[in-house]
Symmetry: D2
Subunit: 348 residues, 4 copies
Amino acid sequence: MKAKIGILGASGYTGYELIRLLALHPGVELAYLSAGSSAGQKLGEVFPDLVADAEMRLVPLSEALPIPVDFVFSCLPHHESMEVVPKFLSKDGVKAVDLSADYRMKDPKDYEKWYGKAHSSPDLLKEAVYGLPELNREAIRRARLVANPGCYPTSVLLGLAPLLKEGWAADAPILADSKSGLSGAGRTPSLKTHLVEAEGSVAPYSIGRAHRHLGEMEQEMKKLGGKGCRLIFSPHLIPMSRGILSTLYVKTKKPVGKTELQDLYEKAYAGEPFVRILKNGKPPETKAVKYSNRCDIGLTPLEEDALILITSAIDNLVKGASGQAIQNMNLMLGYKETLGLPFQGCAN
Amino acid sequence: MKAKIGILGASGYTGYELIRLLALHPGVELAYLSAGSSAGQKLGEVFPDLVADAEMRLVPLSEALPIPVDFVFSCLPHHESMEVVPKFLSKDGVKAVDLSADYRMKDPKDYEKWYGKAHSSPDLLKEAVYGLPELNREAIRRARLVANPGCYPTSVLLGLAPLLKEGWAADAPILADSKSGLSGAGRTPSLKTHLVEAEGSVAPYSIGRAHRHLGEMEQEMKKLGGKGCRLIFSPHLIPMSRGILSTLYVKTKKPVGKTELQDLYEKAYAGEPFVRILKNGKPPETKAVKYSNRCDIGLTPLEEDALILITSAIDNLVKGASGQAIQNMNLMLGYKETLGLPFQGCAN
Amino acid sequence: MKAKIGILGASGYTGYELIRLLALHPGVELAYLSAGSSAGQKLGEVFPDLVADAEMRLVPLSEALPIPVDFVFSCLPHHESMEVVPKFLSKDGVKAVDLSADYRMKDPKDYEKWYGKAHSSPDLLKEAVYGLPELNREAIRRARLVANPGCYPTSVLLGLAPLLKEGWAADAPILADSKSGLSGAGRTPSLKTHLVEAEGSVAPYSIGRAHRHLGEMEQEMKKLGGKGCRLIFSPHLIPMSRGILSTLYVKTKKPVGKTELQDLYEKAYAGEPFVRILKNGKPPETKAVKYSNRCDIGLTPLEEDALILITSAIDNLVKGASGQAIQNMNLMLGYKETLGLPFQGCAN
Amino acid sequence: MKAKIGILGASGYTGYELIRLLALHPGVELAYLSAGSSAGQKLGEVFPDLVADAEMRLVPLSEALPIPVDFVFSCLPHHESMEVVPKFLSKDGVKAVDLSADYRMKDPKDYEKWYGKAHSSPDLLKEAVYGLPELNREAIRRARLVANPGCYPTSVLLGLAPLLKEGWAADAPILADSKSGLSGAGRTPSLKTHLVEAEGSVAPYSIGRAHRHLGEMEQEMKKLGGKGCRLIFSPHLIPMSRGILSTLYVKTKKPVGKTELQDLYEKAYAGEPFVRILKNGKPPETKAVKYSNRCDIGLTPLEEDALILITSAIDNLVKGASGQAIQNMNLMLGYKETLGLPFQGCAN
């Protein structure tokens, strides 16, 4: 029997990507799609390429609530999501993945610091599991509520995890210089996503210690590394639709050689279906993971400087959002982890 | 002494382009820039690349009105422009170019048909001169108010004019299949200009007999051709910032050969500084006119079919809007027609 | 048992797309990939995003020939393909789809006219079936050799077929104004596909009666319409990777109304899995068919002018090449026609 | 009297940009354009948008040599340039700017290390002046041969100079994470510049200690900072035509505050016509310097970490190549430094 799925906030890019991917998933069927201002429209009007359920009408949240489902994805904005997710979870047996930032921080004070508002369901915050399957698989399987990681954190944490776990990083700030496509800025039109403004331009923003994802990344880095990891984070907007490339600079306690580093990463991700460690110092390109749930990682140790450069590429809407959300759902519903998920991308 | 210039509605793309080009014009100085919601901001905040007058503050229309000027450019939207332009023209000696559609139609009924509202200053409508200098130079020189042509009409009319004037077109609808960059859709963010929506897609819109520029084009075609010219017009949005390429299909009374056609066009535009007739059947590309006030025209006669294909390329913001407006201003103020205007573009 | 597949000329874009799509096809397995200068390289080196068979090595044609297969796709250039395809077909039971132009023209004289060389296997030319399943399904099922249609012809013929079959077109040239992404120009680097040259530019080429696909289109139009159809064809390069949008202008014998036209097309393509007729005059956009094997068609009758505008969108590498080739293979091997083929695209 | 100018290697992007910019320069006239495989073609055939000298024919190097000139720009590739430049300089009074890397390294051993070949004119190497006017103006004025800086080095060195001169940088490697448009890869078509390969992708290359510009940058950093500066350099290809954005991470001896840092940079570049220090922590975007000879610099001190982030944006073909070459020429010929050079760019 197929699991009945509800998607909240279906008219943005993460909603789009969920619907597109779930249409190819054999274990689910859509029960409803909720939306705000797009409620009342048919799916095919909101997204003209989505043909599988083109006639399905988006409903307001209030109409969605009573419809029985097995699983809910929340693509609502932060602040909104924490008001709504508890209502769905209060029903018997319902599980959820929240794609907003609302359940990512473990400490309500950290949430308030980075998101500017007191958390309204701190108990659920405590219960929620951080949904990076490669680092946290067993807890996700047992979870009722999974906080889907941010797009930048996914690319940064997968790139850093083996080094941090092994304790090789020196006691110095780690630098993450990230380059992101514009779908990361959301579907609501704004000047910065206007093609005429964005085409042909690279634009840094919130660099240093200012971006909200910093709190989430440092929280998870600490879990991995056991002590006071500190991150300097520089995101840049790139004139393309999809993709994040993070270039990571990690000072190590002692010099690390090529073979040693390659071995560490290959072992750490051995058997992982959605991580590929590139060989021979080849760096990844975002096009090779476009439309794929894969993270490609390249390794460039600078032995003489006791410095390691790691380059990590994901599709921000797939492994960085909706693909990972489905990977989490698969684990939570007892499906095969890779079910319905694209491993191969489409570069050209 | 430099002419004092006011620009109304300065925060959109035609305003931007006027400011950018006038900064290099030796005969003018900016008296004010007016704007709606951007009023109060500095120019450098609204357009971070405009350094010449970066500290100048945009003012609301009401503050602009009393400031003395010699010349006004209105970049206001249609409907708004006709409410405002008369106030500026009522002052002694002030002249204006209106870049909106408000003064382009000669017949108030045509205005109402295509723009859905009765015209509020029909006397000025009668007085206004249609500002395509290559077809209308002497009237522009004497004008107090010039209606700057639309971007599509500029590319279509310059492509058709010699054929129509010569009376070669058969009594059959002319087809214009136009491809436009996204700056033509304006600077106000919308879903269709969102890079993620627009990148990698060609999108026809308002094709056939639906687009507002049809009225303007047929009006001017009639002036040129003397009788009932009819146009089928198919605009398409193209994933690029600037440029219009119009592919024109004209049935002729009798077959026309290569040399004959080439001669017609070269003679028609001999001495024109901003029109270039390409040779040997080479079609134009929009990149060759990017940032230039030039129109490039290519000729492909199909003698066997008594059909002529004309391809015409302009930069929609320069020859299709602000560059042409300055060309008109030069004529109206008695400057050299080419003063301050770029002939060469920047393709790469 | 899975069919064993050979792909000749695997290092270009149609080869890429075949490999990408066949990796998701449950009824086949790759026996070999042949290439010219890329022979010896691993697939993952030639296309870094193709992970399914990344370790498979491309072989020279001479090594491919003796390897037993059930089915061959030739992605070789024209002229080359007709030298090679007969060798593979001479083996017992082997069938083939040729993606080049070599087997598309029925008359060897037409081949020589458009492709500049006498045909070297005129018997096979006679035997080959033109592979547009929507028009030619039963013959394809029985074929040993299918000539896969060109990308432009696919978009134009699917747009015209119902009109032509019904005999509604007047005795006047039909105009096809097509806009194509740059993958249509092939993978061999050239100045026109250089991003710096192509970005931000629309470029017509071979317009009028000059493009090679004209012969193929008129040949098939005649089959559909019964008499002397004539086409004027204007292709344009658009700064995007994939997609063709054809805007078709057809003069009709008598005026045709909206409902009548909509009915004609909906009936003509009823039950077709890969054709979607849009409603209410909505034109298609190429993004809605990106990565999909679907053709979207929009209808704009201009009753007053006895003229019909048809807009047709495909992904040139899928329905315009490799997807259609697989659709043909499915028919030829007795598989379900839609097996392994994407109906839904990916617009964003 | 206008200076007579020769351009060697005129058919690439730096040649293009020189010709385009010099067409607007009142103090020069073109004596010849030399080229390799494009020799014999007219300028208008090689670059269809360059109309000013469209009829001028490109000549082979051997024909250029005897033509008398006052000034030569060499846009030849490295290795070739050092074979040719001495021949032109051996003539009385001729001066030159070399845009290749051949005269940038002071030590012939460094040249051999980074460029893989013994230098063929070491005396000229010694004589040549490194052409970054903001750092080296007086020496350039007196120079006979100026080595024009690389594009990456221009963006990095202008960003670092005030900090290094002041001696604030700690004894730790400086990190430069650079993002470059594809014109930096040259005009010769290659797979990596194919629009279909490059669109929608970020691709790191030669990261760490591998890129040739490293030697040039460390040489100049040492001049500025007085001792063993070390650089880690990570270039990335970005899907756009023009622009470089360098994000620089500098560890400082002691924490530096906002005001202090802003003051340092504003004083260091006070009066510089082509450097703009942004205020209030605003980072630059490449679009704001497109087609401009300006470098925009943004400052983000992280006081708590004793770390400074500097973001620096240039147009790689203007300030990063041909614009700077003209700036150098202006100094060498005694013209006003800014003559004929664009300060304002074109963002949209």
